[in-house]
Symmetry: C2
Subunit: 337 residues, 2 copies
């Protein structure tokens, strides 16, 4: 309830702030540069249907944490838009790197405008993200704005480290579970931890609260990622009977797969022989479960969910925004298995 | 003399600051991410000969302007390293966009490590640039650091606008000379203007001095670019008799070519028929000169050189560093034609 009420107010404000950032490029000379960004954000193009811009989860976290720790969400809007622009810059570059023709059911920027322009569009959005963050200075003292700028840049550096590892995994045989953690800490957890920390930093919450929110964001990110890895093997098949989206088919070295490989059992033996056929998927998913991969992953998911909930409690979210934040985290964490 | 003396001190300090920035990545997990950046900067690889890292012109401008307007160059080192990292990030992405296999006589990052990793390496260097800039706060008040951060981000946005135009020119028939100016203002002049402005900002020089240095940087960038365009058609051939590097061969829509196209004479007629053969180059360069392209370009070069010199005078460069700055600008501007 509280979440629905807040979403109705915050989501349009986020969208407006994002549009304002990109409007800097709205000049006849730069029409396509503006359009590539507006298209990626889901505002342009014939397939402009609901959800084509993504869920805006990250900016929502910034604003809810900000209100729940005693702030005024409008002051945090530049930070909210900035993290969403960073997230989307990374998606534009990811799609080139992964050779993905589609994103949220729509043709990707590189596929439509070519790789050179798509690289530059990502770079441009990256810069707009940081310029947007600087607008915090309209409401905040220079030293708090500087801290926010630094937090986001540090998250970006971790993002590129995580992306480096992810790209390098594709061409490597042996990947340890430790390397996997480094990768998702950088690629997923750090930016979400930065969202929740920014919310608390901007209203100058005390250090213990700020740290609790940061840890909450981190565990939320880790839980979400490990859930995704679980669902990538056992989710879709169980719910729908189809296995077309299985990570086993795409050969993705997700957490359950890495666990299976350490067991050196029948799963590892089959995996190492090369590409898996669609008809093999159900038995192989089952074999991985028998070898302990399913329990191992579920246990981690549950640990991270618990840690996320405990750190959120420790952050003592206040008022209606606090309730909305708890609802949001429950929606994200309590996905069905 | 003054320039030589300063270069001996400043160039190694710049190199050290650049190495320090990238050393953040020096971790066993991230070996290749560090190496790609070190390689691009000219510190790694078998072809590691003099000049393989570039001339470090931009950071030198930051430091000399800083000293010449009453500063202490050590305080400006983070800004000097930051602009050089931004410049190099843009080169890593440019090389992918232009499909260039070589840069400064060495294999480019994308050619050696592939496009996905090269995109990410550029992104990573871009982030390191801004993190390095934030180190200004060790010596400067938060509001000056924020202004410096903003100046650099604004330059980056202009860089991506200029790059957008440059990339779009390749696939367009008609380009106006005005569009060409917009492109080089963004792609070349803005970052150099930001270097000279940063030097003055960091020592909190008065506004008129800061503006004069910014304009000096801008005219220096414009003069340099238009000189390059001139030399790309009439330079190499006159000096060496060879024409292999001619912009006429590569089909580059440089300023003299755009001028020639507006004349709708024999030059334009031949250009519009498509690719030019090596044996046609001397006659076509001559035809473009006859139609006024050479005089037009030379006149602009001379105007920009004069403007650069006048704005540098207006900035009143002080002391030995001021002398070094004047020497540097003369070296850059008085290239032989």
């Amino acid at each position: 309830m509280a979440l629905e009420k807040y979403s109705r107010i915050l989501l349009p404000a986020i969208e407006e702030e994002l549009k304002r950032a990109i409007a800097t490029l709205d000049h006849p000379n730069l029409k396509d540069l503006w359009e590539m960004q507006a298209y990626h954000m889901g505002w342009q193009g014939i397939e402009n249907n609901t959800g084509s811009g993504g869920k805006r989860l990250r900016p929502l976290l910034v604003l809810l944490v900000n209100e729940a720790s005693g702030g005024e969400w409008r002051h945090a809007l530049p930070a909210a838009a900035a993290v969403e622009l960073v997230h989307n810059f990374s998606l534009i570059h990811d799609d080139i790197q992964d050779n993905s023709p589609l994103r949220r059911g729509r043709i990707t920027v590189w596929k439509r405008w070519g790789i050179p322009q798509a690289i530059n569009t990502g770079d441009s959005m990256f810069t707009l993200a940081h310029l947007t963050m600087l607008r915090l200075a309209e409401f905040l003292p220079a030293d708090i704005t500087l801290q926010a700028v630094r937090l986001l840049q540090e998250a970006c550096l971790e993002l590129t480290k995580g992306q480096f590892l992810d790209l390098s995994f594709e061409s490597r045989e042996e990947i340890t579970i430790n390397e996997y953690w480094s990768m998702i800490e950088g690629k997923t957890a750090k930016l979400i931890a930065t969202c929740t920390e920014l919310g608390a930093l901007i209203c100058q919450a005390e250090h213990s609260i700020r740290n609790a929110y940061r840890e909450f964001g981190r565990f939320l990110g880790l839980a979400f990622q490990v859930q995704d890895d679980y669902l990538g093997i056992w989710g879709e098949a169980e719910r729908t009977g189809k296995s077309t989206a299985s990570d086993l088919l795409s050969g993705k070295k997700s957490l359950p797969v890495l666990f299976g490989l350490t067991q050196k059992g029948m799963f590892a033996e089959r995996w190492e022989k090369g590409s898996i056929l669609p008809e093999e998927v159900p038995d192989l998913a089952n074999q991985l479960a028998i070898e302990g991969g399913q329990d191992f992953t579920l246990q981690l998911v549950n640990e991270y969910i618990l840690s996320a909930k405990l750190t959120l409690q420790a952050a003592k979210p206040q008022g209606e925004a606090g309730k909305a934040l708890i609802e949001l985290s429950e929606q994200l964490l309590d996905r069905k298995f």
